[in-house]
């Protein structure tokens, strides 16, 4: 019967769709740990899934359909995580072709088949150590095979993809802009940072959590600043904050983009319009690397570094809940479904 076939097809489509994304709509927070990723439900603030994974998690990339999260670990593995099934479905190693590579900086290309990494490489030949030149390279997500590369100065530690992947920003001592549109990758511009006394540890940028704005803090001798990179336009807003610098590893934007939250030993609220600090509270559990915020802006999550995740009320800055995680952590990412 035609109507039966139609009903069964519709049912199959619904079931496939349910399997591909988490059952309940809302926020999921992904605690990036060691040998594990833990999933926290944004409504109940409870751990709802454990995802075993090989290695120390570092950087992630979210596919455009929000069905898969690519997770870089141990600075040379890339795992594909199915966010519906909460499990690793594929793994590649970028150390291949006789080279031992270390990847500091990882972004997905919009084509869905490739990614870019910033690599340091080494190998031995007849007992001699050969050190490769530092490069930013495009590689296949299915095999880890490098497709093309461009030499960059030493010290690149983070990549941000802008203008639909047509340009890659490589953050190191300076900011290097790489044009990806030709047959070869081309370093087209260097924006000085080192000579301006800017120091940054740009391991955290929260680009997809912020809705397409990468947020990274930096320091000079006198002040803390924020670099906000608009991924669509490639524009960079440099916000110099007034007052004694707040020490922070990472900074995330509030959903209304009027405030930002910074974290290290303290949770600090930043007024982006007035370019100053609004409030700061110590984190009782100690230093945290990662910070995130619920999509309604009502709760702030801090965690990583050590093995705790603390949920704060964004209005009062009072802790609401402390979760003991299975491992220490590197970061905390939010994905809305």
């Amino acid at each position: 019967m035609n109507w039966q076939r139609l009903f069964l097809s519709a049912l199959a489509a619904v079931l496939c769709s349910a399997a591909a994304t988490p059952a309940d709509a809302g926020d999921r927070f992904y605690y990036l740990g060691y040998e594990i990723i833990q999933v926290i439900d944004g409504d109940t603030d409870a751990i709802v899934a454990d995802i075993p994974i090989k290695g120390a998690t570092r950087e992630v990339g979210l596919t455009a359909d929000r069905k898969f999260l690519y997770v870089a670990t141990d600075r040379h593995f890339v795992h594909k995580v199915d966010l519906g099934a909460n499990r690793v479905v594929a793994t590649i190693d970028v150390s291949n072709g006789g080279w031992n590579r270390l990847m500091f900086g990882f972004v997905l290309d919009p084509d869905g088949r490739t990614a870019y990494g910033a690599f340091m490489s080494r190998r031995t030949e007849l007992g001699e150590a050969i050190v490769g030149k530092p490069v930013v390279a495009q590689f296949e997500l299915e095999t880890g095979k490098l497709l093309r590369s461009v030499e960059v100065p030493w010290g690149v530690a983070h990549l941000v993809s802008v203008k639909g992947g047509r340009t890659i920003y490589a953050f190191g001592q300076d900011l290097y802009k790489i044009d990806t549109t030709g047959s070869e990758l081309k370093l087209v511009e260097t924006m000085p940072m080192f000579d301006k006394g800017m120091n940054s540890l740009p391991f955290w940028d929260y680009a997809f959590d912020n809705g397409g704005v990468a947020s990274m803090n930096y320091y000079t001798e006198k002040y803390m600043g924020l670099l906000l990179v608009d991924q669509q336009s490639g524009d960079i807003e440099d916000i110099v904050l007034k007052g004694e610098p707040a020490m922070a590893y990472s900074v995330v934007l509030a959903p209304d983009k009027k405030k930002a939250y910074a974290v290290m030993d303290d949770l600090t609220v930043i007024d982006l319009a007035k370019k100053t600090y609004l409030a700061s509270v110590p984190i009782k559990e100690g230093t945290c690397y990662g910070v995130n915020v619920s999509s309604d802006g009502k709760k702030i999550y801090v965690g990583g570094g050590g093995s705790t995740l603390t949920v704060f009320d964004a209005q009062t800055l009072k802790p609401l809940k402390v979760l003991q995680m299975a491992s220490d952590g590197m970061d905390l990412r939010r994905i809305g479904f």
Partner: protein
């Protein structure tokens, strides 16, 4: 003019002073240079400074919360297992340092 704290007394010492006439300083103590604050991706440990004059003197508290992040990534191979080369799987035994530190084994 700044008063000299050491004076040449004999002929040999005066000859050395003449050799040094017009010489400009070639080195500068790091402590006198303006240094930015915070952690760094730059392979230069002197670059990492902390503006706080009081506790915590280090950048992280407790330092154990910084252990796994520093192994490999932050380049303190004397203090941490070198997670990039020699101890690549140490986090398997110690995913939570505060709980698992007894499993740490250094060569």
């Amino acid at each position: 003019m700044k008063k000299k704290t050491i004076e040449a007394l004999n002929r040999k010492a005066k000859a050395i002073e003449r050799l040094a006439e017009g010489e400009q300083k070639t080195a500068e103590a790091l402590a006198t240079r303006p240094m930015p604050q915070g952690c760094t991706t730059i392979f230069d440990t002197g670059w990492e400074t902390n503006p706080r004059p009081t506790y915590p003197i280090g950048n992280c508290m407790a330092s154990v919360r910084d252990f796994n992040g520093c192994a490999g990534d932050c380049w303190w191979p004397a203090q941490m297992p070198d997670g990039l080369t020699n101890h690549r799987d140490f986090d398997v035994a110690c995913p939570n340092i505060a709980r698992d530190w007894r499993n740490l084994k250094y060569d």
